[in-house]
Point group: D2
Chain length 367, copies 4
């Protein structure tokens, strides 16, 4: 079986999630498109990265990501480090000829994201911005239903990503450090919302809204609120917050069309709510447990009704990327490329500008 050496930057939350995916792919997605070899893992804390290497089975640990870039055995560089470490290592890896995965947000701003995209794209390697929620089976099923025109013309998209861990002044993490993170709920959560908005509903054309910080002394935004218009004529709202008590990982969206509607909540990620305007006297939303043999990604898993977990979305995502490498196929449209990462950043930046100017901001992408 063909293999590919993987180097990873970051060993914490995303390091665990991606390591798990690389270890499951060889047997869950059988036969895998490429067998990932866990070559090297990099991180700043020497002890912690060494333990991560032992734990997840990486051949070696290093505190210098340049070691990974220089390692010829590595054909895929996976960047799960803090946002401030996205640009340089990712570009360097691509320029060294390695295919690259980068966690979202791609950069800390549209400018930085654009720079990463263009620099990496110029090298000709494959690139994936790790918007893993495209790889939730229910989200992919939604996309397929929409592509098949089962919703008709789209009228509304409303998306909100609600978490509740931020309302604590004593918290100290790189996620509150503007230099490391670039932004708060905006890049962390709203980036996901706008990516799925684009994935399911196409390009937004304008946003009206703002970011907001609740806590004195906090350096990044705690919440984002916006009204939005889309190219396809639909309209809606976008929201992201770390201050919604009781909502742990509630990435909720709903899309309404002339022939039907879909609704979703990441806290029940195995379910899709489906409404069809089909004239059935029994009229209502179906709770679809997305786990049938003909549902997305389900050829990998269990009998119907035996649900998958959040961690498994990375299995689907990295499998997709490995397949694109193996087949020299496209990452888009089901996977997010760095261009998608850049576009999400443009929309996020537009909300920031809207909040500052008090005015509607049109979305314009650089090419």
């Amino acid at each position: 079986m063909a293999q590919i050496g993987v180097g990873m930057l970051g060993y914490a939350f995303m390091g665990k999630a991606h390591s798990n995916a690389f270890r499951k792919i060889p047997y869950i997605t059988w036969p895998p498109p490429l067998e990932p070899l866990l070559v090297g893992i990099a991180g700043r804390n020497e002890e912690a990265v060494a333990e991560a290497a032992r734990r997840y089975g990486w051949d070696y640990a290093t505190t210098d990501w340049r070691d990974l870039v220089a390692d010829e055995r590595i054909g895929l560089f996976d960047n799960g480090g803090p946002n401030s470490l996205h640009a340089e290592p990712t570009i360097a890896a691509a320029q060294a000829g390695k295919h690259v995965v980068c966690e979202k947000p791609l950069g800390r701003s549209a400018d930085e994201s654009y720079e990463i995209w263009k620099a990496v794209d110029a090298t000709g390697v494959k690139h994936l911005c790790a918007f893993n929620y495209r790889f939730v089976p229910a989200v992919r099923l939604a996309r397929e239903l929409i592509e098949a025109a089962e919703l008709g013309e789209i009228r509304h998209f409303r998306g909100r990503y609600l978490q509740d861990w931020g309302d604590d002044p004593s918290l100290d993490t790189w996620r509150f450090d503007p230099a490391a993170a670039g932004s708060g709920a905006l890049g962390d959560l709203m980036a996901h919302v706008v990516d799925l908005a684009r994935f399911l509903n196409g390009e937004p054309t304008a946003v009206h809204g703002f970011t907001h910080t609740f806590l004195e002394g906090r350096q990044v935004d705690d919440a984002v609120e916006a009204a939005v218009q889309f190219e396809n004529g639909s309209v809606g709202t976008l929201e992201a917050t770390r201050f919604a008590h009781g909502r742990r990982n509630a990435f909720q969206w709903e899309i309404n069309g002339t022939r039907g509607s879909l609704a979703f909540d990441m806290e029940r990620l195995n379910e899709l709510q489906v409404f069809r305007a089909d004239g059935d006297r029994a009229r209502g939303f179906k709770t679809v447990l997305v786990s049938e043999a003909d549902h997305p990604f389900w050829e990998f898993w269990w009998p119907p009704g035996h649900i998958v977990g959040w961690g498994d979305t990375f299995v689907h995502e990295l499998h997709h990327f490995l397949a694109a490498i193996a087949d020299d196929g496209p990452v888009a449209p089901y996977g997010a490329t760095f261009e998608d990462g850049y576009r999400a950043a443009e929309i996020c930046d537009a909300i920031v500008r809207s909040g500052r100017s008090g005015g509607r901001e049109e979305i314009r992408y650089r090419s």
Copy 2:
């Protein structure tokens, strides 16, 4: 038992809802604060209004609302007519010394609403703008929990009123006639959203958003989208639409505070979702079936778990107004006065202006 003669303008949807309430109040809210006598009902269609009088037990029917204003037996004038018929008859009735109820939206614009409020208020009669959703037991319970500071400091309010009957170009109703209705989803649905936003969360200070019309040739807005800021420092989104397939009467709102959260959906109007940040290891939203002996309005009804219907919200609302008349007590804060009706219109108008200007609009009330 003390009595009050009632005259009603309008015999259709709201005419039925209010007639039902007046007929139920005498025995459901026992003893009633005042016994309403159904004296006269007015409407433009002679045959229809005559049948409504027979059906609901009004002493007489008339095609001229001035007959009601002139009728000395009538002490309470209830206006459930089209929006264009709110101002003149309501003001005339008040000036004739009758207490007045007017359906929402109070006027077709902030200006017209202001005019109604000021003219009526000057007469000294009691006035109620019929935002009946304040009288849903779960909504009142929410208000009581918030008043008791059980949510702590508020961080977010998000409200959306989703219906799905509007996406049909062949529909013909006064609700699509700008002269009769003033607006579309804005006055019909968003007015409810902003009233409950104010009822539960206090005054908004600014909105960023727009109204939108999907169908060519439609003269009123089909949907409204906005981001919003409140005086108490909280932020959120507001939405109203008649184009959300599968949502029949989904007036949904959620409020997040530092100590807890509440969520609600009018399609399950007997339920309130309650989250308390109380450190309980079993952490989550409670589905509270609002039907306990100590729950709002429940002294009128059944044993716990035996739910009420949408129509019963009017029983609570008009009971409240009759009690205010009987006791010469205030309509506010639990009932909406015409000032509340005016304020809702100011916010709605601000969203329209925001959409036109593309800019944030601050909310300023006239006094």
Copy 3:
């Protein structure tokens, strides 16, 4: 409009529910089949029954139900008294030529129920055993879907009626007095379960189970548990309890067939869960908000999504009975006759016998 004089025995819970229905029917079900006149109400507590007469608008109150039987203005006798007062007054009223409604359970045993049925039926009057849950719109819709063979051949019926008010030794009500009530959860709750089992799924042929009393000193059963077989080949479970903490009025049932399934919970009485085995890739239960123009009883009510309450089931039920009287039409199969009341009692008695003997008990009806 044709009228019928009504006399009612009982002024408490059921007295209120039935009085409310008689007062709403004339205008909600327009035009009503017959206009009910509230003539006389009887009860043991002189003061309380007098107040009930004033509250609900009965012409007179009496402490002797024989006054109602003797009153020639009364054409319909409605018995909402304690179970021990079902037989004699109901039979006497029927023998006086009055149509009769009797609350469930019809009698305190199959024998007593049989006696009531046969005595009343012999008089030729119309009789209705007030199993009001047949008149929940979602339950009637279920019946219509089943009649239309939309579920195919039935495999399972499982029903349980869960309440939680019984687990308190200090409670004192006629419902715990075997002489007044006959039984506990059995006649109060299980009777409803078996009536809907019969209404939706046809006749059971055998039960295996038992009644159970948790509290020392309690004279009636607190819970009932049984496995069941039906004539149509389906099997399932039946349960009733007053000891299920957190369940206020959770009458839940589910029915599975070869082509689909339905599920219901009385705490969300406006909703029916509908599954169709139709090969749709989006496979799951629909949450149907039973409130469409073409849904049962909805010609009486509001636009879609504006739900009804528990009390409104009595409006539907008594409207049905008035229509049967007016048209000289049948009460069955949509309304429960006294024969249905008797049959429910036979099944309840069979569970008691099963518990005593430890053996399966076959259901045999007397004719």
Copy 4:
């Protein structure tokens, strides 16, 4: 790190589930109690078992399970084969000194289960009957809440395991072959119900019920229905079926106590419904997303709200068994031993006997 060689019988559904668990344990449960080495896998189909070995990373494949028993590198024998292959290989492996895991049902009858238990227990090895649903985080949390007396005295346990794949006469699998499977829904599904009934509520004392076969020619039961009594004074119902259309893996249970209630559905396995009778005015069931830092098994996983999948229950289960081996600790009470496997079979057999005799069957365990 200490290691243990594993041999596995069976490569299909359970083979995949257990292989996945053994591969995830070393890094998800860090540090693992023992590192499992995937030594050998056995199965009847030579080609299929060879592919399974390649897929899941077993050192070798064999068509003769005796090879595994004879292999000295193997210290843990995991039997995921058809029920007819549980007894002989499991006993042989234990007699060869290997710790043993056996899928449920332990044997095809109480007699066979008893034989396996006693033979294996006599060898002194550790044994686990793979009732993996004990290792769902929500189920373990339920157990902990009950152990902490948070429900008070238990009144009811009702459990049902509903699936819908069986209603197809053309299906052909060993699960319909009485020689291979021993029974149908009884051993496959009801065994899980009675195991969790015992795990959460203690020993049942009597059952009243029956098994049922819907399809002509089918050799095993399709459904099981029973009423049940428990040693602790609680009562309830038990059900299992493969004929509940729309229910894919709906293992639902509810337990009611004097101080609270819990409810669960395997289709939402990350959620526990928790009711506390604590006098809170906001009274209702909480939807607890079992994913907090202090929730069972959650030290292995992700931040709150990032849910696990069905497959992960095996990670928890086999981790527990490896820890018991490593520490020479007990498998019970959190894991199911072969005695638990035997006891589940006794209860299942009692339901069969009850159906045949038509009488209540008391549960008596052999020691």
